[in-house]
């Protein structure tokens, strides 16, 4: 991959094939997928891209659909996301022909509950699960996922009025605004990649919303405006602050995650509100979307007083169309609600280092949600192999499963809440994790990670620096970097530099849409190849604009936020990096260049930035008015007087007596003196 020609690399996130739970791994017809994957990131129309200094970069290679028949395996029954990497560089990668597809499923559940009874299956399903991953720093990461699937079509003119599990508020939104895909996340805190590894689902601090509309929508901007207002009401968030000044249409960074063959970017809208504070008022409406709300099942754990006593809180809603069955002739709607929390070891004042459900949530589990067709708790025990245990897990259950998560093969202990086994004699499940070691172990640094900061001082200019770390020892990989910068930071795009290891690293694709004052932000997307074991620094200078005085926020000296930059990448997996792990595996597995886990799709968000703009002293207008009036009255008045006055010799007129005498004389009819 080190010689991978990035221009030809095509990332496609393909619609996943959600399969009926009972079906065997199946093959989706390649034509169907071709539709989806045929839309390459680089279309011919955009063959040449203007860079800042006027030179144009032509995307190397053919920007055509991959010539190879794309075959894809089945996803997974839980199938959250399937990514396919299509490498079409025939010369450099002969092996890639067979190994084009790379599917990764976040949770590979082989044994879903059997639903193949002859009784007519309900048209909607609900499944819930909780993944607990002890982090090596001693903290603990819990990730809830609630998924509702509904086999109906909300768009084809049919008026759907009967809602069972699927929340009506969202269903109506989908049909009214012809939404094809909707992703919304509310995050409080920043995921500490260096300490915690990769999250299962990444999200930027604040609120993020991206929506694909149906191609039948004529006025996308109007629909987007209304949609944000409606969502703002549903989630009790300030999404109504999304307007044209912070909305962009990414050309390459965001692709549909569900089924569908429209990848035209004009139907895509993306916005981030980095300032959004997430708290209980956002959690409550989110919980209300669940079929059992927080009355039963895993959702009983979601008590806000504990959830917000954490280091990281990220809740999200994803709606997308998926295949109804293997034939994929009809679509269903999938709503997945996710919630990720990291509990802090130090802040909870633990000396013994033990975590339990009760300690984390002040609740235990007693029953699954009765409406759920699946309800499970997974505990990641990968770092806890037999023999050298890092922690003790109780109650112990025998059921274990393996899944490939973000390029890493991980082992989970499974508690199936639909069976009585995990509850034990006390009729309640309180999973307990007790660390054996007292010291924190350093986490392996993730392969890709970013850092971002503003450099320079003073209130006139500055520089936005984005550092992209590739810590893979020998593989280079391309990443798509997307930066959205508000208009009041005037980017000098000619100062854009990309440097790796002290040398210039020319991006093979740059898409830059300059800002318009008070209308739209800067959008900068570029495809950068990250050399192995390197830091790539992307810098661009900016000038701070002076706003109109009504445009300042109520707290202007706090600074203005610049939203996180988005890095999307096909990252070589950690498993492939570890050459020693071939032991115990059949030898033939190493013959192929790319193994199952060779690379995986990942999206990383950088820190948002806080930039101070030149701010007037707002008590100043009074002073300024006073001063200006004085200057005008005194200075200008007398200067004007001097300039316009005509000097003439004046006869000395008499005093008061003379004037009086004149008046009398006039009365008497005598000529004046």
């Amino acid at each position: 991959m080190a010689i991978h020609r990035v221009g030809v690399a095509v990332f496609v996130l393909v619609a996943t094939a959600i399969l009926a739970a009972e079906s065997e791994p199946n093959q989706v017809e390649s034509e169907k997928l071709q539709d989806v994957s045929g839309e390459a990131v680089f279309s011919d129309a955009e063959g040449g891209f203007k860079t800042g200094d006027g030179a144009s970069i032509t995307v190397p290679g053919q920007a055509e659909a991959p010539p190879h028949p794309v075959e894809t395996g089945q996803a997974d029954s839980a199938g959250r996301r399937v990514s396919i990497e299509v490498g079409s560089d025939r010369v450099k990668q002969p092996v890639a022909d067979e190994e084009l597809e790379n599917l990764q499923a976040e949770f590979d559940l082989q044994d879903a509950p059997q639903q193949s009874e002859p009784v007519p299956t309900p048209r909607d399903h609900f499944a819930e699960e909780l993944v607990i991953r002890p982090l090596l720093s001693g903290d603990i990461y819990t990730s809830f996922q609630f998924r509702t699937r509904w086999d109906t079509d909300l768009h084809r003119g049919k008026k759907v009025s009967h809602y069972r599990l699927f929340p009506k508020s969202l269903g109506q939104v989908i049909s009214k605004f012809s939404v094809r895909e909707l992703h919304i996340s509310f995050t409080q805190g920043f995921w500490r990649t260096a300490q915690w590894g990769q999250p299962l689902l990444s999200a930027p601090p604040g609120a993020e919303l991206w929506v694909w509309f149906q191609d039948s929508v004529a006025d996308v901007d109007g629909a987007w405006r209304e949609l944000t207002s409606v969502l703002s009401g549903i989630f009790c968030a300030s999404l109504n602050f999304i307007d044209s000044t912070n909305t962009v249409q990414p050309s390459a960074s965001f692709k549909p995650m569900g089924l569908g063959n429209v990848t035209e970017q004009r139907f895509l809208r993306y916005a981030v509100l980095p300032r959004e504070i997430v708290c209980t008022e956002n959690l409550t409406p989110w919980k209300k979307l669940l079929p059992c709300e927080s009355q039963a099942g895993l959702a009983v754990l979601l008590k806000s007083e504990k959830l917000f006593h954490s280091s990281y809180h990220s809740q999200a809603v994803h709606i997308r169309p998926v295949c109804k069955d293997t034939a994929c002739r009809e679509t269903s709607w999938e709503l997945s609600q996710t919630l990720g929390i990291v509990f802090d070891l130090h802040a909870s004042g633990q000396s013994k280092r033990e975590w339990s459900l009760f300690k984390m949530f002040s609740r235990t589990l007693t029953e699954p949600c009765p409406l759920a067709s699946s309800s499970k708790v997974y505990v990641d025990v990968t770092d806890n192999p037999l023999g050298e245990e890092l922690f003790d897990l109780s109650p112990a259950v025998s059921l274990q499963t393996q899944a490939v998560v973000l390029g890493d093969r991980r082992t989970f202990t499974v508690y199936d809440l639909l069976t009585p086994e995990p509850y034990g004699p006390t009729r309640s499940l309180n999973i307990l994790l007790k660390w054996r070691q007292q010291d924190s172990v350093d986490m392996q640094r993730p392969v890709l990670h970013t850092e971002r900061y503003v450099s320079g001082y003073g209130l006139q200019t500055g520089e936005i620096n984005t550092l992209l770390y590739n810590s893979h020892p020998f593989r280079a990989f391309p990443v798509l970097l997307m930066e959205t910068v508000p208009w009041y930071l005037r980017l000098y795009i000619h100062t854009l530099t990309v440097q790796s290891k002290g040398k210039e690293n020319k991006p093979s694709y740059i898409h830059y849409l300059p800002s318009k004052d008070r209308q739209r932000p800067h959008l900068l997307e570029m495809l950068v190849q990250l050399p192995p074991h390197s830091v790539t620094k992307v810098t661009v200078q900016f000038e701070r604009a002076l706003l109109k005085w009504t445009e300042y926020t109520p707290d202007p000296n706090h600074g203005f936020y610049v939203s996180s930059s988005v890095v999307s990448a096909m990252v070589p997996s950690v498993v492939a990096m570890d050459t020693n792990s071939t032991e115990g595996r059949p030898l033939f597995t190493t013959l192929f260049h790319s193994t199952e886990e060779s690379s995986y799709f990942m999206r990383v968000y950088s820190e948002p930035l806080l930039v101070n703009l030149p701010t007037p002293d707002f008590s100043m207008p009074y002073n300024v008015i006073c001063l200006t009036c004085t200057v005008v009255a005194v200075g200008y008045g007398s200067l004007y007087n001097l300039l316009t006055r005509t000097f003439q010799v004046e006869e000395p007129s008499g005093g008061l007596t003379k004037r009086l005498a004149n008046v009398i004389r006039r009365l008497r009819g005598v000529p004046a003196l």
């Binding site: 917000f308 320079g456 620096n465 600074g559 948002p608 006055r645």
Partner: protein, 616 residues
């Protein structure tokens, strides 16, 4: 303007200005000086108050109880420091990591332009260690800094110990909204400069440093801690930063508020507050406190590690623990509580400090003089220059009047050529340029020819150039236009007076103290010197007495008088030499502007006046 448009009234006004010029000038000077003296009188001062709403009250429950732990960290740190013979980087990294911080190191190296004999360093190589406490659910956009220097010997060990104890206490709290950076910097100011430059990714001083790995957004405020004993009797706060910049007054108020709350005695300029403002000792006390601040601010030197933060618009103060012979002592727990309280308040900051004053003088911790009160004093002094310039202008534009005034003038000479005026000005400025460049540049040559060290070479070269400037061929106008004409020196003096007024005005706006010190010394003499043949020597001596170098010497003397540590003249001379070398070093290491200002502008301007004295 209306006044001027009437020829009669204008004539009256100009005659008033010219006739009463000298009394007016004397009056202005007296008013200006006594105005400043009056500022230290308590009824004329404002009481400090908290402007920032987020800082309103001190209602914080301090829970820091780990004073003992701080002392044990101190012992361990001292041991490790002795073992490694410098900064115990590994130990600090390990300790901070085990407290749950994200720890990073930054190594730097700097070669000084010439050896620093006070701190005995030339090639500096060091490492800063800093740990970041990430705010729970914070997006890494804002941070606060607590720093402690790792100094030579046993200094400031307690500061590092307390920093670690505070860090581990802070780590277990959930309420932080801003990241907190705990920084231990090596080589005091050089390390701090290196860290700040790396954090903001700028390079102004030619430092070489490793790229910085971890950052925590925009720094909102910083506290620098200096503690060298396990118990303290009082806490001193140092405000003056680089180039006389001051932190926002609210930060000082915050410090004072929490000192009051925890009961710690607090001082400014090492002086406690007195309540007897209406007595003479009370007045002189607050006057000397204020003058100390003026002298320190005027020196443009950072009075602690905090001083370098101010350039980046980060409000910062240095808190210095003092252990004197006073009976009542405060332990580490109290100091820790003081820091905790301040940090929790800083944590509440919604906006950067912007409400309160940035320009002020402090005669005591509860009283301050704002810019609006002290600027008139300078205004009166500057008025002298303007009045004299006006007088000269009138004389120049109306030679008959000049004749009336009794100044002998043989013939009506034509206005002096530009060349005869520009030449002395250019020569003076070239001398200034030489003073700025040559000392550092020619140190190599100097040590080859004279038995002196590099530092002495630099200082002595500077003094030599300074003195040589006096002997330069100033009377070029004689060569150019025959003889020194009356109009010639008047024009030159008019130009010099206005030049000085502009220079001092600009300086005062940025650094009041410096501008005021220069104004109060230079203005009276420069305003009245004339090229008299009779009293040439007298004028010359007076001018030398107010030259920038003499002012520096006298300031040093006054400073030592004020801190009640009088020095003899010889010691004063030693201090003077050190001050010159430190001033040059400050310029090269931190970008202090005092030396270039003096060398490139003030000194040449003064030379022009020197030129006028010897015009004939």
């Amino acid at each position: 303007m209306g006044l001027l448009s009437d020829p009669n009234r204008r004539r009256a006004l100009t005659s008033l200005v010219t006739r009463l010029n000298t009394p007016l000038c004397v009056l202005c000077y007296l008013v200006g000086v006594s105005w400043v003296m009056g500022l230290a009188f308590e009824p004329f001062m404002l009481r400090t108050y908290m402007s920032e709403n987020a800082m309103g009250s001190t209602m914080v429950e301090e829970k820091f109880v780990f004073g003992e732990r701080a002392i044990s960290y101190t012992r361990e740190f001292a041991g490790q420091k002795k073992k490694t013979g410098g900064m115990p980087v590994d130990w600090l990294v390990k300790t901070m990591k085990s407290r749950g911080l994200e720890v990073y190191t930054q190594s730097f190296s700097q070669i000084l332009p010439f050896p620093d004999e006070v701190k005995e360093r030339y090639m500096v190589r060091g490492t800063n260690v800093y740990g970041i406490l990430r705010a729970p659910r914070g997006p890494r956009t804002e941070s606060i800094v607590l720093s402690a220097p790792c100094s030579e010997g046993n200094n400031n060990n307690q500061a590092v110990g307390l920093l670690l104890a505070v860090a581990s206490h802070f780590r277990s709290q959930i309420y932080w909204a801003k990241d907190i950076i705990f920084l231990v910097n090596e080589h005091d100011l050089i390390g701090m400069e290196a860290w700040l430059e790396a954090y903001h990714d700028v390079n102004m001083t030619g430092l070489r440093s490793s790229p910085m790995q971890g950052r925590a957004g925009a720094i909102q405020a910083a506290l620098s801690l200096e503690l060298s004993s396990d118990v303290i009797t009082s806490m001193d706060v140092a405000l003056e930063g680089l180039n006389g910049q001051l932190p926002n007054l609210d930060l000082v108020n915050l410090f004072y508020a929490f000192c009051q709350k925890t009961g710690v005695l607090c001082t400014i300029q090492g002086k406690l507050q007195r309540n007897d403002w209406d007595t003479l000792p009370g007045y002189t006390h607050s006057l000397s406190t204020m003058l100390l601040m003026v002298l320190k601010q005027g020196s443009g030197r950072p009075q602690g590690d905090h001083g370098l933060f101010l350039r980046y618009h980060i409000e910062a103060v240095t808190m210095r623990g003092i252990n004197s012979f006073r009976q009542y002592k405060f332990d580490m727990t109290t100091v820790g509580k003081l820091i905790e309280g301040m940090f929790r308040k800083l944590n509440n900051l919604l906006e950067r400090f912007h409400q309160s004053y940035f320009f002020y003088l402090m005669p005591s911790l509860t009283r301050f003089v704002s810019i609006g009160y002290y600027m008139p004093a300078f205004g009166f002094l500057a008025l002298i220059l303007v009045l004299r310039a006006l007088d000269l202008w009138v004389q120049l534009s109306d030679p008959a009047r000049a004749l009336e005034d009794g100044v002998s003038e043989g013939e009506q000479d034509s206005s002096p050529s530009l060349l005869s005026l520009a030449t002395p000005v250019i020569i003076c400025h070239l001398t200034g340029l030489a003073l700025y460049i040559l000392p550092v540049l020619s140190q190599e040559m100097a040590i080859q020819h004279f038995p002196v060290s590099e530092t002495e070479a630099v200082v002595l070269t500077a003094i030599a150039i300074y003195v040589a400037g006096l002997a330069l061929p100033h009377n070029t106008h004689r060569v150019l236009s025959g003889a020194g004409t009356e109009r010639g020196w008047r024009s030159l003096k008019l130009f010099s007076l206005l030049y000085l007024a502009v220079l001092l005005g600009c300086t005062t706006l940025i650094n009041f103290s410096l501008g005021f010190i220069l104004a109060v010394t230079m203005i009276p003499v420069t305003a009245f010197i004339q090229p008299h043949t009779s009293s040439k020597v007298l004028h010359g001596v007076a001018l030398i007495l107010v030259s920038p170098a003499t002012t520096l010497l006298l300031s040093i003397y006054l400073y030592h008088e004020l801190i009640e540590y009088p020095v003899s003249l010889l010691e004063c001379w030693q201090h003077f030499l050190t001050a010159v070398s430190q001033g040059i070093l400050d310029h090269h290491l931190y970008g202090s502007l005092l030396y270039p200002l003096i060398a490139l502008f003030i000194y040449p301007c003064w030379l022009q006046f020197w030129n006028i004295v010897f015009w004939k």
